[in-house]
Symmetry: C2
Subunit: 298 residues, 2 copies
């Protein structure tokens, strides 16, 4: 096994490491729960050596993306500002103590007005565009903080972040609704009906949340139904607000299957057939594209 | 000191006890942090005796309101259903072991469609109407779960609950926004501007939440400003949804000063001068009114 370089997706909670061969193939893959959130800047190098020490006896070049480049990360990789090419024209390197080790950090992207930021998603988009050259349209990246990104001529024109995933987790897990929302399970009709409500009348989001709890108390409604209803209310409100993004556009989704499914269902009711790409695959493809550009710049 | 009866406001987190004289005056007042949330049904009586044992050596009649009457409380006091008189025509009594002790529990109120429930607020409204006989209009009770209640001819016609207070606490304290929201402080202009945004375009709530975080990262906006903005976004969305309640109506607020102030400011921009009453005073007045009705029924 001869890794040519190492790709790392280093997020807030987890990190994923790949050994990449000279032909771009994946020679090995490892994971760690030592995310940025629990590491001081000086601790990243030791984690890297701990996870990938054997690979680093053969190669010393690393390309990483994600929260590793935030102000609280290994080194701050200053944001690019929209409109900008998704693939960065330069990268910062992280401070290291081991001789010869070079760690390139892919920068995030920010937007001035309305203010917005991303770190990590730009790499997934880079991967998507590497696989779909010349693609124009809107990419939706569902997750804790769902992002809608307008792409034209290989540039990010604008983007908008929604806290829908985090709101769902807080409301279902920690609010008074937790007594009424099942931990898993789904009800297509309840989802569609709730989504349609907030999509057409976004102001009803505020009015309908407590109703989920009350519906269970008054009508003994099934908690799986209420889980799908909560998701529908939140995603309907997001789709209403994101209308300038999806209306009349090509839409691609980058995300895991479970988190993407409600978006695909919601967009389908709007007459939009969105294609889905896997987020981990796009991340790796994006780090590879950044690495290739790095070689070109070198 | 000769208490004639004992009034208790027994909520989820706290309880408040008053010794009431034969002339209705308050002879003593005590508090406990033994709320319903931490008590099994069989434990309420011991807490009552512990806090008010000396009073109970003179009187044995207690009237209580709040979550003490919920399914998880001392005894379930079945909801009245809207439309209904705010002051109950009958009350359940809680099971007791001490000879002669009689604990009356004021029932909550439920609405079938849209489903909604209240426990405790009905007593504050009873107190308000006891002090303002014949009053018609809308009462707003700001809090963790803000309620808007339409009153006509001494009846609750309909009501609607908003989770605005709980959403603020979750977003400001536990979401990614916690890094950007000051724990206290206020900015009138930021509040008014954010409120106006979601009031006129409720769909922007979903779009603007993450922007608070991004604005701080990109523009280094003051965290006190962002605290007021978050409050404004949430209350603007609530006022948009509650329009059928406040439009063209007399509006009275029952609540503590801090939680009522943003609502008073918001309603003022809509041309509505809302009067505020203190929630603890209204609760006590409501328990007294229920006690008086009890004597009448007896």
């Amino acid at each position: 096994m001869k890794p040519d370089w190492i790709a790392v997706d280093w997020g807030t909670s987890n990190a994923q490491f790949w050994a990449i061969g000279a032909d771009g193939s994946v020679l090995g893959e490892r994971k760690s729960d030592k995310g940025m959130g629990q590491l001081a800047p000086s601790e990243f190098e030791a984690v890297l050596l701990d996870i990938a020490g054997d690979w680093l006896s053969i190669t010393s070049r690393v390309v990483t993306c994600g929260m590793v480049g935030s102000r609280q990360g290994w080194v701050e990789a200053p944001y690019q500002t929209t409109p900008c090419a998704v693939c960065p024209s330069k990268m910062v390197t992280a401070p290291t103590t081991r001789s010869g080790l070079i760690v390139h950090v892919i920068p995030g992207i920010r937007q001035t007005n309305p203010a917005d930021v991303m770190r990590g998603e730009e790499t997934q988009i880079t991967g998507f565009l590497a696989q779909n050259p010349g693609w124009d349209g809107v990419i939706c990246l569902p997750g804790t903080h769902t992002k809608w990104v307008h792409i034209s001529a290989n540039e990010i024109i604008s983007f908008q972040t929604f806290m829908t995933g985090e709101m769902f987790a807080l409301l279902a897990g920690q609010s008074v609704l937790r007594h009424s929302i099942a931990r898993s399970g789904w009800d297509n009709d309840a989802f569609a009906s709730a989504m349609s409500l907030t999509l057409s009348r976004p102001e009803s989001l505020a009015a309908r949340l407590f109703s989920l709890r009350a519906t269970q108390l008054v009508h003994d409604t099934d908690t799986i139904t209420l889980r799908a209803s909560l998701s529908g209310l939140l995603i309907g409100a997001e789709l209403a607000a994101a209308k300038p993004y999806w209306l009349g556009q090509n839409v691609a989704l980058i995300g895991a299957n479970a988190v993407s499914a409600p978006y695909i269902a919601g967009l389908a009711t709007l007459g939009i057939q969105a294609t889905r790409m896997d987020s981990t695959e796009m991340t790796l493809a994006g780090i590879k594209a950044a690495h290739a550009l790095l070689e070109y710049i070198d």
